[in-house]
Symmetry: C2
Subunit: 583 residues, 2 copies
């Protein structure tokens, strides 16, 4: 009996093997290329999309059509399984994006924010809508009957921004807490919110989303009803839903198991909302996004709960979605250089001008306003999701979708450097970037401070070319003015040198500890020799602060003291840096 029952439609062992193997392959490749992108200071989403292009018909599918088509087929149980994972992934990704929108911050912003967000939307929208309305066939309208939704889509596609990308850029530039950062962030949030609502309307205008013929039980086809219900859903979620979530969260945390119950509550609300908006005909991700906005606003949602959800979804589910984009598209065939340039120019010009003028009218000076414009230019994940949905719905052609993906990636790449140049910010220095295995001595032989100076100076000589005795002498002179034990078993002997071109750090470990006369009386087990050029007035203070901040955590110090190799020390430093990057 079970055998016949199973034969109906469950996975065969062969299909289960393919499904699991393709999942591992996709995830692994996406991470590998994502990390590679990060090495070149590019967003990891670039590598993740590239993974799909490599594994899909563009590259490996062309070289090894047999195995690749077996692993990533276009029909059958394996295909449906992969589609399921993609659907769940993109839904959860939008939940996380929604959680990042902070309505409370938005409501506190002033005139400048309103002007930036309005101008940053209106100008790109007009450009996108106008172009698409005047030359739909040229841009790649999928279906002639859909000229109006197509033009609306192009307007919206030009006017949304990429919240996660901007958050990351501002964090990297140490601007996220500044007025300029708050302005850019808030305007981007408003753009996203309005953009997604608009896109939901466009989706509602399409005859049947997803080419379904059994969509009889849904309000499809009645445009006014769908739009009315969507707006009602939006209104209820952002008022009553938000209030209810704020009330329920402490009760759930107090009465039920923590953090499991809260995590499930968030998932159920998000997936339930997604199902509801999908039923309305405006795609599941809209519901998940709005649910995220409503839930994320409550200060009762604890940071650690957010972290569990955020880490798993952005690291596991997001790459599955981004990599799957390239799996069934041929980027080489669908690449249309003129279209790509056109989309890119309109996208950059509209946002740059809109953001700039909005900021100017809001009272900002020229340079700052240009930085705001540059910040608004960044597209990213959201733009790609929008394009994917429009493509799936038959609204746009493959070449236009490819152009949108490339535009999203290119704008994410240029936004950060442009802001940095405009506001004279360089990336925050990181200790992990300033150290290498040539700069680490796991076990110093020295018992006293002077011998330790000498040992570290030897290493510094090999790095800088300066004479070790000169270095040790300068450091010892400084040590006699001020003992450099800073407590917590750390010492930071340092000196400024004339002939140095850039700062230099050498780190040494001591198992029994060396007495650097710290105020807590403890011997130093980690000694960081710090040399900086006399010409660079700030370098020394900056680096001292950097070391103190990195080793402020007890577990980081413990790991650093216990290190035998540079890799282990670096792992401890990275742990500290990952904490400082949390937001």
């Amino acid at each position: 009996m079970p055998l016949t029952w199973l034969a109906e439609g469950v996975f065969t062992s062969h299909q289960a093997t393919l499904l699991l193997f393709s999942l591992a392959l996709l995830l692994g490749t996406a991470r590998l290329l994502g990390e590679l992108a990060r090495q070149f200071k590019m967003p990891s989403v670039l590598g993740e999309i590239l993974a799909g292009i490599v594994l899909g018909p563009t590259l490996l599918g062309r070289l090894f059509p047999g195995p690749m088509e077996a692993m990533f087929p276009l029909s059958g149980n394996v295909f449906i399984g992969q589609q399921t994972l993609t659907l769940v992934s993109v839904t959860l990704l939008l939940l996380v994006a929604g959680l990042e929108v902070d309505l409370a911050v938005l409501l506190r912003q002033g005139k400048a924010m309103v002007l930036v967000s309005v101008m940053g939307m209106v100008l790109p929208f007009v450009l996108g809508f106008g172009g698409a309305w005047l030359a739909p066939e040229y841009l790649g309208l999928g279906e002639p009957a859909l000229a109006l939704p197509f033009a609306l889509f192009m307007g919206i596609a030009m006017s949304i921004t990429a919240l996660p990308v901007i958050v990351k850029i501002l964090l990297d530039l140490n601007l996220s807490k500044s007025d300029l950062g708050a302005l850019i962030l808030s305007a981007a949030m408003v753009n996203d919110l309005v953009g997604w609502i608009g896109f939901a309307m466009v989706l509602a205008m399409l005859p049947t989303v997803g080419a379904g013929l059994d969509a009889t039980a849904t309000p499809h086809g009645n445009l006014m009803l769908t739009i009315g219900l969507t707006l009602a859903f939006l209104g209820v979620m952002l008022t009553l839903g938000r209030w209810l979530a704020h009330r329920l969260l402490p009760v759930i945390q107090a009465r039920l198991e923590w953090p499991g119950a809260v995590m499930v509550f968030i998932m159920v609300v998000a997936i339930g909302s997604a199902a509801f908006t999908e039923w309305l005909g405006v795609h599941s991700i809209f519901g998940a996004f709005i649910a995220g906005v409503a839930l994320g606003d409550s200060r009762h949602l604890r940071q650690s709960t957010r972290e569990h959800i955020h880490q798993f979804i952005t690291n596991i589910f997001a790459p599955i979605f981004f990599a799957s984009i390239g799996l069934r598209l041929n980027f080489a065939e669908a690449f249309d250089p003129v279209l790509v340039v056109l989309v890119l120019v309109v996208a950059v010009a509209g946002k740059l001008a809109g953001g700039y003028w909005g900021a100017r009218w809001g009272g900002l000076e020229k340079r700052q306003s240009m930085a705001v414009g540059a910040g608004m230019v960044a597209r990213g994940a959201m733009e790609i999701i929008l394009g994917q949905l429009a493509y799936d719905a038959g609204l746009i052609t493959e070449p236009l979708f490819v152009a949108i993906v490339i535009m999203a990636l290119a704008t994410s790449l240029i936004s950060g450097p442009a802001i940095a140049r405009l506001v004279h910010r360089h990336q925050r220095r990181k200790l992990s970037d300033l150290t290498s295995d040539r700069q680490y001595i796991p076990r110093l032989v020295a018992h006293g401070p002077r011998a330790a100076h000498n040992e570290l100076a030897q290493a510094a000589e090999r790095l800088t070319g300066l004479n070790a005795q000169t270095i040790a002498g300068a450091v010892w002179a400084r040590e006699q003015i001020m003992r450099t034990g800073i407590g917590d078993m750390l010492a930071v002997p340092h000196a400024r040198l004339d002939d140095l071109s850039k700062p230099c750090i050498v780190i040494g470990g001591s198992e029994r500890g060396i007495d650097f006369d710290a105020s807590d009386g403890q011997p130093a087990r980690l000694i960081c020799l710090l040399l900086s050029p006399t010409s660079d007035a700030n370098a020394q203070i900056e680096m001292l602060d950097l070391i103190a901040r990195t080793f402020q955590y007890e577990d980081v110090r413990r790991d650093a003291f216990a290190s035998d190799t540079f890799i282990q020390l670096l792992a401890a430093i990275k742990l500290a840096e990952s904490r400082q990057n949390e937001h």
Copy 2:
């Protein structure tokens, strides 16, 4: 073009709606019933399985056959989508189970552990195998040709234990760090490891697992080859794989993004191993489990990374799997009381006797040995997964599967209370169980200690029936001997009273703080009045320790100080308790 492409097999909007809605419904119901089970001090997996029974053919499917069959169908895209999520869920669940096995601890154990684990396996195995071999039709053999694998399966099913359940029971009883706890845990780990390896062999003996007809590319059918490859996989993973993981983890943590890269690494290894063992014909979960054992052993895998993986998988994926069991089974029809009792008796008797004699021969005294036996009795998640696989493979009938599920749940329920009774342990007291909203005054009016005593004593009068003046007098007398400010803005005024039947706590908040003469000079913002019976010598010290432990965390204190309602205070207390439960 995209429209025709999509029509091939992608989800229609209607199917996507059903898939998402059924997922939200399943997850929400599973959590709700799981929490309900916890309220009655039962394992939450009981409620999760019940959710499937409620939503499936046993209950709602019978009352509303139309909607329930549309939501949980037996074929079609929605069905395949749900099967995908179940497959991924059970694979990841076994990864987490594997991560909990600590090979290093196993190797340190002595003779008693070896005897307990061997006896605890051999006796139940003999009983299970013998019974199934002698009366296969009666027990419910699915396919007459499979008599040998069936008997082997029954032997293994009787001899495995439930690691996660045991961990939880020992934690609750505060026994997890004791010698007795370590003995039970290690023996259970060995049982699981051996049991799963044995089960993999049994699966390999089946002609074609999963009723697949296209399994030509796999080593199916060649039993020796499959078993050889399985053992080779096991050997390589637990030696070379383990060593490699230990080497790679620090490099990944140091060089790549943290914690994302490590999380993806673990997932890719686990899902890749799962695909490999599925290809071998021994089911994906075996590979995921062994990958977990190999990876979890490294001390380089940080606690917070484990937490992210653990929380998401046990809270989101595990309930999806457990609830899906009941969705396609009719528990009412397949319930055979004689079979249930038979399976239960054999399962309990075999483990109890085996564990007891093993412990006795290992040198433990009678009562302790009985506690070991009671610990080994607990089955749970693992048993159910085993049953599900055997049922899917056509090895056992529906009534036997139902009996195994019931046995797994029943043994999990009786094991904890039995151990507690045998070693005279009561459950660790929790502050959250000892407080209610009648015991909390968010804003004390008092400015000084004596007035605070009086206010809190008023509340204590209402709770205990004792006179408020008597209480305040006793507390004040104690206060004059020893000031009760314990620092960190906490004060614990206390007294022992003759007429009290059980301990009583009243907590008061003070926004400006009250000076209780703490050594750190800070005024107390949270004052916990603690009354205990003179007859119970330990109660006072135990409760003082409980309060100090609960409020040791800075964020918990901050939340507690900021509370306006009892729910908020309770949420803070629960946060502290959830940390103490972590392992």
